[in-house]
């Protein structure tokens, strides 16, 4: 699903990612770990083509991401769902409208996205809060909305950038549990960046560890070091 070869990204003189080579297969659930500034977010932003790499190749679903033209970029991004630490929800839209956003921008008629939005919201356990606004929800609920929005378009790849960073441990565990359920139900490839050792160690998953932009460890059933 995701293949990189010598992937490098620099911000001025700082190498955020340096010569990263790895493969993530379709349907995998991978933890991307490492301390702050290790390059986790940069890696996810490169996959989303929110940034452009300086060297090396990055292929997603066999498609060379750096070769995607500006006009084809929206189409490419529609295959990817993303969850962020700060939720990135629109305060002036209710929960249903926030979840429907990826379908709305594709030009899907509101009548036609009622059902997928409802399914996504029920999957994250927020079926009863459709008409509420982000300001009325707790942190955990906001992240659930963010998750529902990420999966409503049935993406092939789900990126989660520190999704538990702003949550208490109990809520964080529930979000990871939800991510696992989504992964097993929808067979979506999931890459979750986190530096929460408890969450990583609580499961037996592939763990890719980054440090100073380099992959220092890639273990199939790893632990957080």
């Amino acid at each position: 699903m995701v293949t990189t070869l010598g992937l490098t990204k620099k911000f001025g003189d700082i190498r955020a990612l340096s010569d990263v080579t790895l493969t993530i297969s379709e349907g995998e659930f991978v933890f991307l770990t490492g301390p702050s500034g290790s390059g986790k977010t940069t890696f996810l932003r490169l996959i989303l083509r929110d940034l452009k790499s300086d060297a090396g190749t990055l292929k997603v679903g066999g498609q060379d991401v750096s070769q995607i033209s500006q006009s084809k970029l929206p189409q490419y991004r529609r295959q990817i769902g993303a969850v962020y630490q700060d939720f990135k929800l629109l305060a002036d839209r209710n929960i249903r409208e926030n979840v429907a956003l990826p379908l709305e921008v594709r030009g899907v008629h509101p009548d036609k996205y009622t059902s997928p939005v409802k399914v996504a919201m029920e999957l994250v356990g927020l079926g009863s809060k459709a008409q509420m606004f982000p300001a009325q929800l707790s942190g955990g609920e906001l992240q659930r909305v963010s998750l529902a929005r990420a999966i409503v378009g049935k993406p092939k790849l789900l990126l989660a950038d520190e999704p538990t960073g702003n949550l208490d441990p109990k809520t964080a565990r529930s979000i990871v549990k939800l991510l696992r359920e989504i992964h097993s139900q929808l067979k979506t490839t999931v890459i979750m960046a986190t530096h929460n050792a408890d969450i990583v160690n609580a499961s037996v998953q592939r763990v890719i560890t980054l440090e100073e932009g380099k992959v220092i460890k890639d273990s199939p059933k790893g632990k957080y070091d």
Partner: protein
């Protein structure tokens, strides 16, 4: 499209003062454009009126009734100059008819004048205003002509005046449109900057630039449409208010008040111009952000 329009209206509602300033400057520019258009159209009508009037009147002596041979001889000599457009003989009786129609409201003047008191004449319209002087000179040399009157290059002077009005109008309107465009760019630009996070999210979930731009373009168009309506309304009110003054000067020269069709055409023009300037302002503002 309805969704984008709703979004644009909602954003306008949320920042009423920015909207007010954008609509005010748009109204001012479109009012200026409309005023110059009306001035140019009015001048054009006046010019057309003068162009269709006889430019030279050559009068026979009051006590003389020219024979058909005399009239034909003068007309054929005039035609030989190849500088005339229309030549018309006006008999004493016809002159009386014209006099009566011009003084129909004054019975005293009508009673005192008979056909014998009025001179017969030849009315000449020149092909070009430059030929008026030569034709007048030519007619003065005719033995049977007693007096020649001509409006020395009224049409030429009017043409030059209309050209100046158009030129000054085009420059002034152009400058104002540019200022309006800049203000719209600034107002929409501020809104784009305020919605940076939202736009970035839209991009990340796969929105196309057209989808992101649409509400901002609609916003600019709304400024243009509202400004256009207000400018048109003000222009119409000023015309109606000035009717008394205008009628006293221009009766018979141009049709007053302007027809509703003409005013609707003006409205369409103002709405079109406003929408174009506003829409382009919105488009450029969001395009600059997306390019970054």
């Amino acid at each position: 499209m309805i969704r984008h329009l709703k979004t644009a209206l909602l954003r306008l509602k949320r920042s009423p003062y920015q909207a007010l300033s954008a609509i005010s400057i748009m109204t001012m520019s479109l009012f200026l454009a409309g005023s110059f258009f009306l001035l140019a159209a009015g001048s054009e009508a006046i010019l057309s009126y003068f162009e269709t009037r006889p430019q030279i009147n050559a009068y026979f002596p009051q006590d003389m009734t020219p024979t058909p041979e005399q009239i034909d001889a003068i007309i054929s000599r005039l035609k030989e100059t190849k500088k005339t457009d229309v030549i018309k003989y006006v008999s004493k009786e016809e002159a009386l008819k014209v006099y009566k129609s011009l003084n129909s409201n004054d019975p005293l003047l009508l009673e005192a004048v008979t056909a014998s008191l009025l001179p017969a004449s030849i009315e000449v319209t020149a092909q070009s205003p430059q030929d008026l002087k030569d034709l007048a000179k030519f007619l003065k040399l005719e033995e049977s002509i007693e007096e020649v009157r001509y409006a020395e290059d009224v049409v030429g002077a009017l043409s030059r005046w209309i050209y100046s009005v158009r030129l000054v109008g085009a420059v002034l309107v152009g400058v104002h449109i540019l200022i309006t465009f800049t203000v719209i760019l600034l107002v929409v630009g501020i809104k784009v900057a305020n919605r940076r996070d939202e736009i970035q999210l839209f991009q990340l979930v796969g929105a196309t630039p057209a989808y992101i731009s649409a509400p901002f373009i609609f916003e600019g168009i709304i400024y243009g449409v509202v400004g256009g309506f207000i400018a048109w309304g003000i222009s119409y009110l000023i015309i109606l208010y000035s009717m008394g003054f205008l009628v006293s000067f221009l009766t018979g020269v141009i049709a007053l008040p302007p027809s509703i069709v003409f005013m609707l055409e003006l409205l369409a023009g103002l709405l079109g111009l406003g929408s174009l300037v506003g829409g382009m302002g919105g488009a450029v503002a969001v395009h600059r952000f997306l390019k970054q």
